[in-house]
């Protein structure tokens, strides 16, 4: 899904020169297994392609040198020489007319101290990359159009979630092509794959929960069946799944990564989440396909994700932009295989290992005769020291003291395994029906946990306590609901009078919470019919209705209030800032000022304040009638990538707004998070002369700030060949001698730029 760097080397002038005029070298390379390094297209001046440079670029691996006899070694996908380290972008093996040779495409020429624009790998792995991509391609204006299309789509398809899958796919597919047309209408077809991916991803982010909710609805039944299997296998451990112990260390990280999958709404981000998950597991370890599959199975069993089928359908069926068999496709396929495996007979055969004594072994095998015999022998008294002896050896003989390593009695263990005959037999021998194990669970808990309805009925008939709570506060009804055993839920209602239906566990969850959460629609119906309270809130302040993720479970709560806003204020705040930034981008000054709580009058004026930045009560009132109930965004707030309003004003050349921002306390030197650029950088990159002038006027503006690559604003002005800006910067004290992190200075860039050159003299 994400594109690694690629180019057709036949169109590369450097390579072309070798093929055309130095065929002898190719033949020799083929015989001697030399490797030809080709700088990626555009980083080497065609005039400089001389035989010397070519010889500098042919590696003789056996000697660790180039053909020009300079040292050069290959290490970790890099070529290291005395003066330079270059990345191998890709390797291509050529088979041409009986010749075979290997070519490395590298990011910049070897042995060259020239500054080439740093290679920014145009990776698109998240929604944010997509949005950046739109900007870098000058396509930001389509974002708002895509938003509008999506909004009207949502508006026109109110019952979308109840369409069948095929219709949903068709509708989304046609929405996607509409969005794509917006972009392709006025553009050629370069970089088409990335455009498609970015458009699709942005569209998905606009549709947000609307789409995922609809797919949750379509897959509801499948997910509830799957959840039942998962819940009932959650006690399986790494060794039960034959996962090598070497993965133990990293699995917690992988788990917490994968648990975030439902925080993302786009396919791109969800797949990236899978990739990050396995990134934690790749470290230092060779991961085979068997490992990937088994680890997926394990993670699925251990996580609290309630809609895996829905996620899978989304990932496999709703991607229209590309279908290449790449790495993300491989991970999604492994997820599919893992889910398929969990549903298979093969998986059902995997049982947690019980280490048991001979007595408990008879229950495992269901061998009642043998159990009887063993108990008779033990109880016959003949083997006791004397009839009333209670020494350690003799007490062990007494059946009621027979407990296994989890504190389970024979009865509890028989209930767990669903051996109804043995349960009846033990009860007839006077076994204690309400004894609990080390987890506080009774035989009835285990019958409900595993869905053994027959055992449940026997136990309830023998006066088993139905509202008993285990150490987590779960009643038998809770565990039956959690594990999806509708037959047991019904039996509990049928067989017992005083069932406490609204009892909550230590998380504050009622049985109804659990049934809704795991999509057990049938159980929800039984609980609602029996007047379960729909107004219970759990510890996270959620009503059962708030846990519903699809149309079928929501239906039980027709009067429910809409979901309370998610309590992650952070992302809410980022959304607000994104709106503000968008307003700046769209040159909507009134809206921008509204978000910031400024006066709309363009000459912002604070004469009447105590001092410009005062916010004493008196001045606040003077402040243009701000509504105290609205939360305004601070001028120095930034979005998730660290862009402040000032960055945007600088980038898009909104000079008037820029003045207002600076006057109201915007800090001029804040840097973005990834690229570490100040507003001045952006102004130079986007050639906004008037913004540059305005910024350098600020007393505290750092003219020579270096960004992630070590480049100063002056560097970008030079690269853009913008004489005007270069002049402004130099007259304001910019230093032309600063070296970037590739150790080159601006003057070198200058050499082949003409216009602004003389300014340096």
């Amino acid at each position: 899904m994400w594109q690694k760097y690629d180019e057709n080397l036949h169109n590369n002038p450097f390579f072309h020169e070798i093929i055309k005029n130095h065929g002898d070298l190719i033949v020799k390379a083929s015989q001697e297994e030399w490797i030809i390094c080709v700088p990626r297209i555009g980083v080497i001046d065609p005039n400089e392609i001389t035989i010397e440079t070519i010889l500098d670029h042919i590696l003789v691996p056996s000697e660790g040198t180039t053909l020009s006899k300079k040292e050069a070694t290959i290490k970790n996908k890099q070529i290291v020489t005395n003066s330079t380290t270059r990345h191998i972008l890709f390797e291509e093996t050529f088979y041409i007319e009986d010749l075979k040779y290997t070519v490395f495409c590298i990011d910049s020429p070897l042995f060259s101290s020239r500054v080439t624009c740093p290679h920014v790998v145009n990776k698109i792995e998240t929604l944010h990359h997509c949005i950046d991509f739109f900007w870098s391609e000058n396509l930001s204006h389509v974002l708002i159009k895509i938003q509008r299309l999506c909004a009207s789509f949502v508006d026109q398809n109110r019952s979308f979630c109840r369409e069948n899958l095929q219709n949903q796919k068709d509708l989304i597919g046609s929405l996607y092509s509409q969005c794509l047309q917006l972009v392709l209408r006025n553009r050629g077809f370069t970089d088409c794959d990335n455009i498609k991916l970015a458009v699709e991803t942005y569209m998905q982010s606009c549709l947000d929960q609307f789409l995922t909710h609809a797919i949750n609805t379509v897959t509801c039944l499948h997910d509830s069946e799957l959840n039942k299997i998962i819940r009932n296998s959650s006690e399986l451990q790494l060794k039960d799944l034959s996962i090598p112990p070497k993965f133990c260390d990293n699995i917690t990280n992988a788990k917490s990564e994968l648990s975030k999958i439902n925080n993302y709404v786009t396919i791109l981000d969800k797949v990236n989440c899978l990739k990050l998950t396995f990134g934690h597991l790749y470290t230092k370890i060779c991961l085979t396909s068997d490992d990937v599959l088994q680890l997926f199975v394990f993670l699925i069993l251990k996580l609290n994700i309630t809609n895996w089928t829905s996620n899978l359908i989304y990932l496999t069926q709703f991607q229209f932009s590309s279908h290449e068999p790449n790495e993300s496709n491989f991970l999604v396929t492994s997820l599919e295989a893992a889910l398929e495996f969990i549903k298979s007979e093969q998986f059902a055969k995997i049982k947690p290992r019980h280490s048991v004594t001979p007595l408990f072994q008879t229950i495992v095998t269901g061998d009642l005769t043998n159990l009887r015999k063993l108990l008779d022998v033990k109880n016959s008294g003949g083997n006791l020291c004397h009839p009333l002896c209670d020494c350690d050896d003799c007490t062990k003989m007494d059946s009621s003291y027979d407990i296994n390593s989890k504190g389970q009695t024979l009865l509890t263990f028989a209930a767990l395994l669903g051996r109804s005959e043995i349960v009846e037999f033990l009860l007839s021998k006077g076994a204690e029906v309400n004894s609990v194990d080390y987890f506080g669970r009774s035989a009835l808990h285990y019958a409900c946990l595993k869905g053994h309805q027959d055992v449940l009925l026997i136990l309830v008939n023998c006066r088993a306590e139905v509202n008993v709570r285990d150490h987590d506060g779960n009643t038998p009804l809770h565990v039956a609901c959690n594990n999806g055993h509708e037959n047991c839920v019904k039996a509990l209602f049928y067989a017992s009078k005083g069932l406490d239906i609204d009892c909550v566990n230590k998380h504050g969850d009622s049985p109804l919470h659990l049934a809704v959460k795991w999509n057990y629609v049938g159980i929800c119906a039984v609980l609602i019919e029996n007047n379960a309270n729909v107004c219970v809130t759990n510890r996270k302040n959620q009503l059962p209705a708030n846990l519903a993720q699809n149309y079928y479970t929501e239906r039980f709560f027709p009067n429910s209030v809409p979901k309370p806003p998610k309590d992650n204020n952070r992302s809410d705040k980022f959304k607000k800032i994104d709106l503000l930034l968008k307003a700046i981008e769209n040159d909507d000054l009134p809206l921008t000022c509204f978000y910031l709580g400024f006066s709309t009058s363009s000459h912002y004026d604070f004469q009447s304040k105590c001092h410009p930045l005062c916010n004493c009560e008196k001045c606040e009132d003077l402040d243009t009638g701000q509504d105290p109930n609205v939360e305004y965004i601070s001028v120095n707030a930034c979005n998730i990538d660290g862009f402040t309003p000032l960055h945007f004003a600088a980038k898009f050349g909104r000079t008037e707004l820029l003045r207002i921002l600076l006057d109201s306390g915007a800090l001029p030197n804040l840097k973005t998070l990834k690229t570490l650029q100040t507003p001045l950088h952006l102004a130079c990159i986007h050639q906004q002369v008037s913004v540059v002038k305005e910024l350098v006027k600020c007393a505290n503006c750092e003219v020579d700030s270096q960004d992630y690559y070590g480049n100063t604003p002056l560097y970008y002005a030079c690269v853009r060949n913008d004489a005007k800006i270069v002049e402004v910067l130099l007259t304001n004290g910019a230093n032309a001698d600063i070296r970037d992190y590739g150790n080159s200075i601006i003057k070198q860039v200058q050499e082949n730029l003409t216009e602004s050159q003389d300014i340096f003299l």
Binding site: T219, D290, T316, H323, N326, F330, S334, A337, Q346
Partner: protein, 216 residues
């Protein structure tokens, strides 16, 4: 990133199938990374690897998928091999059972994907010639019969590995070009991915092959 659209570029998916321990992972690692002992390989993921080839000016990107080999995962095969252009069926020349397993894969692949998929059969571990248990003549005759190409390889000694992938790639190229010549506008990609997890549960995924090792 440009030029993907130039038409002379292909993305091929190749799966490796075969019993556990016949050397599938070793073959891929040898081919792509030129490494043998997986214990010494660090930070390489062995389950999915890419290799770019350029055959007489045609650019090919091979996506090589290693598959889960344990017997309990057999039924998951179709999920991995669907929409593959080629398959490498690997057996261990010292292990007769592993050759029978190859036969059952061939049957299944021909049944599910027909002639769309190019098959290569690899008798691996030829460095253990003295322990050979599968006769070369038999294996080659079988390959001819089912329209596959037979190779002898040793991942350990790096024998025959590159040649095998090259010949497979050439064959996949021929197949695709023939197809393109026949019915230009028909797109291959969409047809296969679609019928996978359909929610109206009528279509159960293809049943696991149970009576497959009956040796024919």
């Amino acid at each position: 990133m440009a030029n993907n659209t130039s038409g002379a570029s292909h993305n091929f998916k190749v799966v490796l199938l075969g019993e556990g321990c016949v050397g599938k992972t070793s073959l891929v690692l040898r081919y792509v990374e030129d490494k043998f002992n997986t214990n010494h390989v660090t930070t390489v993921q062995a389950s999915f690897l890419n290799k770019k080839l350029n055959i007489d000016g045609k650019r090919i990107n091979l996506a090589i998928w290693d598959t889960a080999g344990q017997e309990k995962f057999h039924a998951l095969g179709p999920i991995y091999y669907r929409s593959s252009n080629g398959a490498v069926l690997v057996y261990d020349i010292t292990d007769e059972d592993s050759f029978q397993k190859v036969k059952s894969w061939v049957k299944e692949l021909r049944k599910m994907l027909g002639a769309d998929i190019c098959l290569v059969i690899a008798g691996n571990k030829t460095d253990l010639e003295k322990n050979r248990n599968v006769s070369l003549e038999e294996a080659e005759a079988y390959a001819i019969k089912v329209g596959a190409i037979h190779f002898q390889t040793s991942a350990k000694l790096n024998k025959g590995v590159e040649e095998m992938f090259l010949v497979l790639t050439q064959k996949m190229l021929e197949t695709v070009e023939e197809k393109e010549a026949q019915n230009a506008p028909l797109s291959r990609q969409n047809s296969q991915r679609r019928n996978v997890v359909v929610v109206d549960d009528d279509q159960v995924p293809p049943p696991p092959t149970r009576q497959c090792c009956s040796n024919s």
